[in-house]
Amino acid sequence: MGAQLRIYRRRIRSVKSTKKITRAMELISASRIVKAQQRVAASTPYANELTRAVSAVATFSNTNHPLTTESENPKRAAVLIITADRGMAGAYSTNAIKEAEGLIVTLKERGLQVLTYVVGRKAVNYYKFRNRAVRNSWTGFSDKPTYANAKEISTELIAAFLKDAAVDVDGVDELHIVFTEFKSMVTQIALNKRMLPLEVVEAEGPAPAGLLPMYEFEPNAGEVLNALLPRYIESRVYNALLQSAASEHAARRRAMKSATDNADELIKSLTRLANAARQAEITQEISEIVGGADALASANAGSE
């Protein structure tokens, strides 16, 4: 076998094994999207009930809570960026980071100092490589976040928010979160939302029939609000983590699908080249034999 042909065959083999890997990753991601979506669905009843409760308290009490109070003179803002732990997900993490960069620029234009909190190894590496400060980071659960993860993150962020930014360098006046919304299997959008100070918005969809009932609070409205609002933040962070996880799997599935398709293309064109090389080899051998026979024949004819 000629050298040329051997090289083509080797490349085909290696592309084939790469294709096997990307195909497997595609299938794994596809099944994980479904699981991630189920987790989003499982958390929805809780989030809805919580939103109802919060709007009930907010409607019937004029208690001012620190978490809902806007600072008159904001100095510092926290940005929480949610990205993936692993790569091979196309532009998923890059998009979230880009969105965050845009947000940070706008915040800085407003004269705010920005503290970044990141989730996911990709963002950690991005900031480390550029030698930029990160307040805190969490890694290791981007593809399967639990409520405990959301609680840990929220606890720290709420603590930072509750500190007075004017006197404390750790305190922040605003909290923004950057995550990837899972719109559908094919559309995921990186977006930013302001989490704190809270604006309690009524749940989307038709307003509940009639007015909300006059609630009694146990022990009292202030206490209930104190306990409710942090849970509300946690559930919002949890939702952002879950949506990001679903988006991550969808992005990875798409990236791996196009990798598999590309490998197919490559195998096809390499096979063509290998066939041409093999044919060229055969043609050359034939012409060598014919040439050799010719030479022999003419040599014999001369001697007779």
Partner: protein
């Protein structure tokens, strides 16, 4: 509100633990044990760690452990929001 049953939902962020009709729900709030019967006045309470007992319509009692959370009652609809819960 004419029918004398409660519609109960017990949800945590990770799952729906109980959903159905009940005759009575009892739980422990910051102020002490509390029982909810049909026709209870609208209420929002903070729960402490402890047991939630749901007396289902068919008579069976169901006990759940709850780990912090809330209880809201309105129009014979009881929702229990636990941070973590188990049967």
């Amino acid at each position: 509100m004419s029918d004398n049953v409660l519609t109960v939902e017990f949800v945590t962020p990770e799952a729906r633990i109980f959903s159905g009709k009940a005759k009575m729900v009892s739980a422990r709030t910051l102020e002490g044990d509390l029982g909810v019967l049909p026709g209870h006045t609208p209420l929002l309470g903070v729960l402490v760690d402890g047991k939630v007992v749901i007396k289902a319509v068919d008579g069976a009692d169901q006990e759940f452990e709850v780990h912090g959370g809330f209880l809201s009652v309105a129009n014979n609809r009881v929702s229990i929001l636990g941070e973590a819960g188990a049967q």
